[in-house]
């Protein structure tokens, strides 16, 4: 019954909108108004000399995107620590804010129970994969000095976001947060040190709990 009302509502909405569109040009299709009458002769509208200069100018190279890879150690709560590796992609919206997407993969080791019992495994597929969509903020921009004549730009950033972790045959809603240090070796190549905590709910060991999965990585990224 309720869905019949929804269909009715949809039909009414479509009719109303198309009616509005016909009278008020609500969809903006076609010209809003008739073009203003041109009083000048058509020959003087365009100045060819200025136009040609515009075209010759090279476009400014924008380098707001950052792409790279990372490797490190990830601890899966109750399942030991193992190597983690992944890729990272970021877009710098302002000098402070950036959005980042990461994809990573690690392995879950055996729990103490699995080791001591000597056989019975809780589950077979031990691969852990995750993706995250994050918002970061460069909270402490700065410079570091190596020796007397070299200065490098750096950023200490805070980052948090949402994503999904595939672990023990299920996709798990994951919240992650952490901090990182970006060291710009040149203006376009950066070295990263990152620490994150990935939180998800898990009930594989009997009762449901929130697992903290700590991750420490180093990585290299390129701006383009």
């Amino acid at each position: 019954m309720e869905s019949r009302f929804r269909v009715l509502f949809l039909i009414t909405l479509v009719i109303m909108l198309s009616g509005c569109a016909a009278t008020k040009n609500l969809f903006g299709i076609g010209d809003d108004e008739a073009p203003p009458p041109t009083s000048e002769p058509p020959g003087q509208v365009i100045d060819p000399e200025v136009e040609r200069r515009e075209i010759k100018e090279p476009a400014i190279d924008r380098e707001d995107f950052e792409v790279g890879a990372f490797v490190g150690i990830m601890n899966i709560e109750d399942f030991g620590s193992d190597t983690v590796y992944g890729i990272r992609f970021a877009y710098h919206v302002t000098e402070g804010f950036f959005v980042e997407g990461t994809i990573g993969q690690s392995e879950a080791s055996l729990t103490s129970f699995e080791v001591l019992s000597g056989g019975a495994r809780l589950f077979d597929d031990r691969t852990v994969t995750y993706y995250n969509l994050n918002l970061g903020y460069n909270v402490l921009p700065g410079e570091v000095f190596i020796g007397e004549g070299r200065a490098y730009n750096t950023n200490f950033y805070l980052i948090a976001g949402l994503g999904s972790t595939n672990f023990a045959d299920d996709d798990r809603f994951t919240v992650n947060f952490g901090a990182g240090f970006r060291f710009l070796m040149t203006d376009s190549v950066a070295f990263h040190v990152d620490f994150r905590d990935h939180l998800f709910d898990i009930d594989i060991l009997g009762r449901e709990k929130t697992a903290h999965n700590l991750e420490g990585t180093i990585g290299v990224t390129v701006f383009f």
Binding site: E95, I103, F173
Partner: protein
């Protein structure tokens, strides 16, 4: 059903394919994003640099592209500089003596082209919020009691009407899934800073029960939705977005399923 979204009793047991979903999907998305962006880079790799002349009494060069980096060099009025690259609102420039440093947008706006005309260093404004062609964003929220994470891209046909493509992952206590949809968005007042919109769309939803649930099967159904929301211009290219959508899942059973969704997130336009 506390946090269930869909808990469907059934006797069939079908092996789960969720392993494939998260990793390979996101890898594909990333690869696509890279492909889409790389052609622009080739064009930018031009040896000829854009030259401008300083029109202000002096131009300050900073050691880095951001607030707080110290000024280490100044270029006098009338001298010319070359622009190496731009990062957010900062420009890396090279002075005639070869010194390289970063100049902020406000100072670059006070430079002149070789022919003496003003340079247009366009900074995104509310006007671009209304008229920008492309938009992409990330939203998260609640989908009938489950968590949902969504990624979308949109193209504006005109300031009022745009078309969007959405990809979502749904993570519940009892079942997981993904959803892909296409929708049309209508903004009645696109020039407002708080711009309300209405949306209509259709798509496909895939559901699979969690491995700890013994009963249940994978399902793929069609969905239709109506919704409304608000786009809020924040700053530069940033906007905030909040929306409500009401979904009808066209199941093969006797009754269609109805799901309500609330989401908030951010997006940027270009």
């Amino acid at each position: 059903m506390r946090n269930g979204w869909i808990l469907e009793p059934s006797t069939t047991i079908i092996p789960l394919t969720s392993r494939l979903s998260a990793f390979s999907w996101s890898a594909c998305l990333l690869a696509l994003a890279l492909l889409a962006i790389s052609p622009g880079q080739a064009e930018a790799a031009d040896d000829v640099l854009r030259k401008v002349a300083v029109a202000d009494p002096y131009l300050e060069m900073h050691t880095g592209p951001g607030r707080g980096y110290p000024i280490f060099h100044v270029v006098d009025r009338g001298d010319s500089i070359e622009i190496i690259m731009q990062r957010t609102d900062w420009y890396q420039v090279r002075a005639a003596d070869g010194t390289e440093g970063w100049v902020d947008q406000a100072q670059m706006e006070l430079t002149l082209k070789p022919d003496g005309s003003e340079v247009d260093f366009a900074r995104a404004t509310l006007d671009d919020f209304t008229n920008a062609k492309w938009e992409a964003g990330i939203l998260a929220g609640d989908f009938g009691g489950a968590n949902i994470i969504s990624l979308y891209g949109g193209y504006s046909l005109n300031p009022h009407v745009s078309v969007e493509v959405w990809g979502s992952q749904i993570l519940g206590n009892f079942s997981n899934g993904w959803m892909g949809s296409v929708n049309v968005v209508h903004e009645t007042w696109p020039d407002w800073r708080f711009s309300p919109f209405f949306t209509l769309g259709a798509g496909v939803i895939h559901t699979s029960p969690k491995s700890t649930i013994i009963q249940g099967e994978d399902r793929t159904d069609q969905v239709g939705h109506v919704g409304a929301g608000l786009r809020i211009y924040a700053t530069r290219r940033f906007l905030l977005r909040a929306e409500y959508k009401s979904y009808v899942v066209f199941t093969s059973r006797d009754e269609n399923e109805e799901v309500e969704e609330w989401k908030v997130g951010f997006a940027f336009f270009f």
